[in-house]
């Protein structure tokens, strides 16, 4: 559901040994009971001392010509961007930004304060387990037999021995750690281009292809079939709050580091999905 944001959230951590969100599944249960999360303790002030500037670099003029050729550095080719909906997207980005700061973040913080980490990681495991059909079908449609088998096996074991999926018995099992997939990636696998970039309210960044994948995923997501729409929506919101209770500070980090948060998020999302599609 919120692949969206999470992805977006990446960036800031850029230089950081404190990265971002969103490996689901396997790693989800390794919760180490520890301190309250990075509820942004106001970091201290004072500008950094000015770094010594470029003087040392051999010949800045020479660098002009062959910036990349010089050391052939940028390993990641730039992702191409199609953003015909930019005005709408920017407005939705703003909306989501406010939604996060005014609602999602305070609620997640409060929730985090009262619900023990063990319960929250169990809940994350539960929802991840519930979404197995999406990953399973996506793997099958990509003819990834091994991955599909692993998804199915984990689902059966976690749903039973893991008590309805609250426990993840594969959390620290390297052999069964496989990349998450979804229908958007399945489409990419079959050569469907990503199409224009779209920011949806609440859901966050998507491309057209990934939106189609997301809608398809709804049909495979048991949460959709909960006995009423209200219960489904409630569950999704609950999952979202639980999810963010582990990731408060990620979005702030990105925003803080970026010069234009909209552009930064867009590129981070597109790079992330392009990379996932290669897996």
């Amino acid at each position: 559901m919120n692949v969206a944001w999470r992805l977006g959230l990446l960036l800031a951590l850029a230089l950081a040994p404190v990265g971002c969100a969103h490996q689901k599944g396997d790693r989800a249960s390794g919760y180490a009971p520890s301190s309250p999360v990075g509820v942004a303790v106001p970091a201290s002030d004072a500008p950094l001392e000015k770094p010594p500037v470029a003087a040392a670099r051999a010949d800045p003029a020479a660098a002009d010509l062959s910036l990349e050729e010089e050391f052939d550095l940028l390993d990641t080719p730039m992702v191409s961007v199609s953003d015909p909906l930019a005005p709408w997207n920017r407005a939705m980005f703003q909306f989501n930004d406010k939604l996060y700061f005014w609602l999602l973040k305070p609620v997640s913080q409060g929730y985090r304060a009262v619900v023990p980490g063990l319960a929250r990681s169990g809940i994350e495991n539960f929802f991840n387990n519930l979404r197995t059909p999406i990953r399973f079908v996506s793997n099958v449609l990509q003819l990834k037999g091994r991955e599909a088998t692993i998804e199915l096996g984990k689902f059966m074991i976690n749903s039973t021995w893991g008590v309805l999926g609250f426990g993840n018995l594969f959390a620290s099992n390297e052999e069964t750690t496989i990349p998450d997939t979804d229908l958007g990636l399945m489409l990419a696998h079959h050569g469907v281009g990503s199409g224009p970039y779209v920011v949806w309210p609440i859901l966050g960044p998507y491309t057209l292809r990934d939106t189609v994948g997301w809608i398809g995923g709804l049909a495979l997501d048991p949460v959709t079939y909960f006995n009423s729409t209200a219960v489904s929506l409630g569950s999704r919101s609950f999952y979202m709050i639980n999810y963010y209770s582990f990731r408060i500070g990620d979005y702030e980090g990105i925003k803080d580091a970026s010069i234009d948060p909209y552009l930064a998020t867009r590129d981070a999302y597109l790079q992330y999905r392009a990379e996932k599609a290669k897996e």
């Binding site: 950081a16 404190v18 990265g19 770094p51 910036l67 970026s258 010069i259 790079q271």
Partner: protein, 212 residues
């Protein structure tokens, strides 16, 4: 005549020494493995973050200083700036290059330090492997272990003056340099370098104010 010959010998001698010095520098970069070049600084940064001495708010500034000392040595901020701007770098005058490197480094340093100081939650860094791609390029793969997830972080490094230094960070497939370049390309397609410099500078100021 003699003098001239003597001059030539001296020149050659100096050249030979220069070459030796350069070669030695080159060699020392190769002797230390990239993964070890990062392990040391990252470990000491984590130690500083965990050090109870810096728990109290009043010590944060001191902690920040010490972290910055480490970070500036490992990251090649000039290289990062140049690469992040990319082809548009030629639009910058030497003065603008200097100023922009300056403000952008401040931004990177501040947002990084605020992030790790503000929300350090006993994350662990696991060093996975290194790939030496060529004499001038290597990649160090790490993983940050968090509460419920882990994030792959790869550092691209190259030797500068005998030490491996970071010129890009790739987090879950997202390159920091490419991400900034996409922002700068967009901004510079409409505005001049001066506008970009001013924008980064004023954001820096606002951030510093906000933290106070």
């Amino acid at each position: 005549m003699l003098r001239k010959a003597g001059g030539a010998v001296a020149t050659r001698f100096i050249l030979a020494i220069l070459i030796m010095v350069l070669a030695a520098r080159q060699a020392s970069a190769q002797e230390i493995k990239p993964i070890d070049a990062l392990r040391g600084p990252l470990d000491s940064a984590l130690a500083i973050l965990q050090d109870p001495r810096y728990r109290s708010g009043s010590e944060r500034e001191a902690q920040k200083e010490r972290l910055w000392e480490i970070i500036r040595k490992v990251f090649d901020f000039e290289g990062i700036t140049m690469l992040a701007v990319g082809q548009n770098w030629k639009l910058f005058s030497p003065e603008q290059k200097k100023v922009f490197t300056d403000v952008f480094t401040t931004r990177l340093g501040n947002s990084y330090l605020n992030k790790i100081q503000g929300s350090f939650n006993n994350e662990r860094v696991e060093f996975l492997s290194q790939e030496v791609l060529s004499a001038s390029k290597a990649r160090v793969k790490t993983k940050i272990i968090r509460e419920v997830d882990s994030i792959p972080v790869d550092y691209s490094v190259r030797p500068i003056d005998g030490a491996w230094r970071i010129y890009d960070v790739v987090i879950e497939g997202v390159s920091l340099v490419a991400n900034y370049r996409s922002q700068f390309n967009d901004i510079l397609s409409k505005d001049s370098p001066d506008v970009l410099i001013e924008r980064v500078r004023s954001q820096n100021k606002a951030q510093e104010k906000e933290k106070k």
